[in-house]
Subunit: 161 residues, 2 copies
């Protein structure tokens, strides 16, 4: 399997998030060619600001490996990680990050800052971006469009009552 | 109660971590003068790279408030948060951070970078540092000294066998 295949798995997770009304981001962690954890964003469902797809995937991967060092692992995630998730990638000593679409507003792996290749920290992570970019971006665009439309419907409904 | 009193509570949590063999960092979250969550570092015990005191305290505070927005809350933590925890503080929209001692190696709230007062992100957090600094620093220094000594003893023991 190649990067594109693992990203397909992350994208499936993003679709699960979409169907739950969560911002559709999915992630998988891979070690030695094997997917050891899968997760999707659960922030609203769990009412937990830390429940991003990457955080849950990293936690589950540590459970699978019975240790917090994910040194030989790659994290695949459909959207560029925020500073919290980039920090968790550093904490876990992850070797490699592959993401789909950039997050121009809050991305901490190249867009706003790049915490993973920062001279000041003692761990650097290889980054590959743009894998299945249009699919990963498309699901987010579709979600936010639907969210805006549903709010219009809701507001209209409220106005009519 | 004042900042110093809440930091005393965070310090008690750090002492629990110490006694578990964890890097001794403790945290509490306060809303309207009331402590709504307490936590200490559990990284080694849970084998989870995300199990820092701040992360667990934020998660528990969200559970207590039944929502992920901690807009009117203050996080007290004995050591300056890393980039992961600073990111979680941003994600939770925490209003204020009070910490004890700086982390010159990996601190992301002023030492290495300052993610909480960064022009590029859409949320800024008020920071107060140096509250009970010598106590918060002292417990860390003591822990690492003991850890080094225990390793010397272990190595000597191994050499003697």
């Amino acid at each position: 399997m190649q990067d594109i295949d693992y990203m397909q798995e992350a994208l499936k997770q993003a679709k699960v998030a979409y169907l739950m009304g969560e911002v559709p981001v999915g992630a998988v962690v891979v070690k030695d060619g094997r997917i050891i954890s899968k997760a999707h964003n659960m922030k609203e469902s769990l009412a937990d600001p830390t429940a991003h797809a990457e955080m849950i995937a990293i936690k589950k991967a540590s459970e699978a490996l019975k240790g917090w060092r994910l040194s030989d692992c790659t994290l695949y995630v459909t959207m560029e990680p925020c500073s919290m998730c980039a920090g968790a990638i550093l904490q876990s000593r992850m070797r490699r990050l592959v993401f789909g679409t950039k997050d121009e507003k809050a991305g901490a792996c190249g867009s706003k800052v790049n915490l993973l290749q920062h001279d000041l920290f003692n761990h650097n992570v290889e980054i590959v971006d743009g894998v299945l970019e249009s699919e990963c971006s498309g699901i987010l665009v579709g979600f936010f469009k639907l969210l805006r439309e549903s709010k219009c419907v809701e507001n209209k409904f409220i106005a009519e009552r």
